[in-house]
Symmetry: C2
Subunit: 356 residues, 2 copies
């Protein structure tokens, strides 16, 4: 006789075999009855009842580990963050995403495994091999700025369902979901155009984040549709906002510009400075000039005035990631990678001066 001496992990829980004994049937029958009989196999109503009764009497509950092993899936979806999964500093940008991830995961019957990546080590260092742990789950969502390309590439090459939250083109073959900044930005411009604005200026920062580039692309795209004179429509501020002064605003208005659009940034600097400059110039918003913000305002000036623009649907981004992952998992090639922003009318955009 071979085997473990004392069944270490046994928790005194009844198994199908015991239910079977009590009901006077085989373990197979128990599995069949309790499994809902997906195969549509015929069963005596009598047997069924006896099994059910026995199971209830013993308080049987299936062992998830065993069940998952037998089906070679565990209905576990991983979430790997390159920083702490519950970061303290960027709490407000991660949390809403996790909300969406959870919601969609629940809807699809998945539980979430939070892989704790680098939290223990210093800074962004992902312990070597740590990434491979995610293979434990059926698929995994990745979250964070700096990704360890090597390890991630291995997962992708092995056809492991990996989805990055946020656009990610560097890593060929890595699935991602992202925000459709292009469309959202274009929509804002079209809204302004609908109000009669023809000369519009975009204020953005000088770094080259994909999110910034996309916004500019959408802005230019919509501007091109207008067909008007659009020279120098985009301003990149080296030091965030430092170049946006009341004088600068007045000069643009003198040139015929009637609307200003700022991009959202971590600090909200562009919007903040634009507001200040317009106020400093003594211009009424939206009476004399219209303003719009490509994103959400910084928390400290959330309400006053509510900016025309769009909101980034972070929760929806999380949900989309889950959908993408489950699609990959099911062998379907891809789901929709882009989530749409919701237009926010706000109170900073009005009819262009000189129009009804």
């Amino acid at each position: 006789m071979v085997g473990r001496a004392s069944t270490p992990g046994r928790r005194g829980r009844p198994r199908q075999a015991e239910v079977a004994r009590l009901a006077g049937v085989s373990q197979t029958t128990v599995s069949l009855v309790l499994g809902g009989n997906k195969q549509g196999i015929a069963l005596h109503e009598d047997t069924r009842a006896r099994v059910l009764a026995a199971a209830r009497e013993l308080g049987y509950v299936p062992d998830p580990a065993a069940r998952r092993m037998a089906r070679a899936r565990n209905n576990l979806l991983g979430v790997f963050s390159f920083t702490a999964t519950f970061p303290v500093d960027v709490e407000h940008s991660y949390y809403p995403i996790l909300v969406g991830v959870e919601r969609e995961a629940v809807a699809r019957g998945y539980d979430l495994v939070l892989f704790t990546g680098s939290s223990s080590g210093p800074a962004q260092t992902v312990a070597p091999g740590a990434l491979q742990r995610v293979r434990m789950a059926d698929g995994c969502l990745f979250l964070g700025r700096h990704i360890p390309e090597g390890e991630l590439r291995r997962l992708v090459d092995d056809n492991f369902p990996a989805v990055h939250i946020g656009r990610r083109d560097e890593l060929e073959g890595l699935a991602w979901v992202g925000v459709d900044y292009v469309s959202a930005s274009a929509e804002v411009v079209r809204h302004l155009a609908g109000l009669g604005h023809r000369r519009i200026v975009l204020v953005r920062e000088s770094d080259d984040a994909p999110a910034s580039a996309d916004r500019e692309r959408g802005f230019r795209m919509a501007l091109a549709e207008l067909g008007g004179p659009n020279g120098a429509a985009v301003v990149r501020t080296a030091r965030p906002g430092a170049d946006i002064t009341p004088a600068w605003v007045r000069a643009r208005v003198a040139e015929g510009v009637t609307a200003f659009v700022a991009e959202e940034t971590d600090t909200g600097a562009a919007w903040r400075q634009l507001l200040a400059a317009v106020n400093g110039a003594g211009l009424d918003v939206p009476g004399e000039v219209s303003l719009a913000l490509l994103g959400s305002p910084p928390a400290d000036l959330a309400g006053r005035p509510q900016p025309t623009g769009f909101d980034v649907p972070r929760a929806e981004l999380g949900s989309a990631a889950v959908r993408m992952a489950t699609a990959l998992l099911a062998g379907e090639e891809a789901a929709e990678p882009l989530v749409a922003c919701t237009f926010r009318p706000g109170r900073t955009a009005g009819p262009a001066p000189g129009r009804p």
Copy 2:
């Protein structure tokens, strides 16, 4: 030949057998090497290295379900929330706890499994059987207001390591971790006593939450130590704060009361109203009366003035829960269930009038 036709869920996840093939050893040896060789069996350093290399090359990670079955442990710690794990409304009370849970879990080599309880269904309805899924993990933390006693009892009776976050005496045998409101409240009173205050009044709400009861207990305990005249030292406000008026404050002061203590509540009503009443009475704080808050102030009046009192260490609470769970897991009987609050000097308490 019998077996499933197409290995449905296979994702090319490498197993020990493949590592063994690559390393040119048996699967048993792989298990031995990768399992850390707990049995202290002699191994050629050479073999060890080859196995390790092969495992890394293939990106091998153990299957938690299989591990669970064979060894009955998988270094997975569950977190089950009776509401959504990432609730939108109480965001700020859950998040810090999760931060602590994650930190301690990482430190102890556990990954977290978020079991998504009832988020899909209406209100607090936990799907029947949903709770039993947590058995996949080595242990589980429970979080939330209303607990499904029946299902939880079954886990407890089966000796499954379950830890409730928040005091929970209803369910005999259920381990829990909680905040030591008694000591913290007593400490605040003693602090006031040290400043010369002898007549102190506690303002609390009328509901009977454990947290409220504990605070009152600590308050009374410390008051008893003072031995002074303490009749009617506790006021329960039916409608939060409605009874706390400037006139009421003046009456108490006329009786010789020199300090007021409010409990923290969801809405912060008690503290809010106390502040307003004292201001309305035209009394200087802390010159003429001292105030203290048994907890943290509501966010909207966080800074002004910073209340004397204590902070609830929510992150520490999460960490304590993990410690408790791992203790149970290891067979040790219990860890420390109470976490201490940190005293906050604040600026609302000063020497009692008529003292140096």
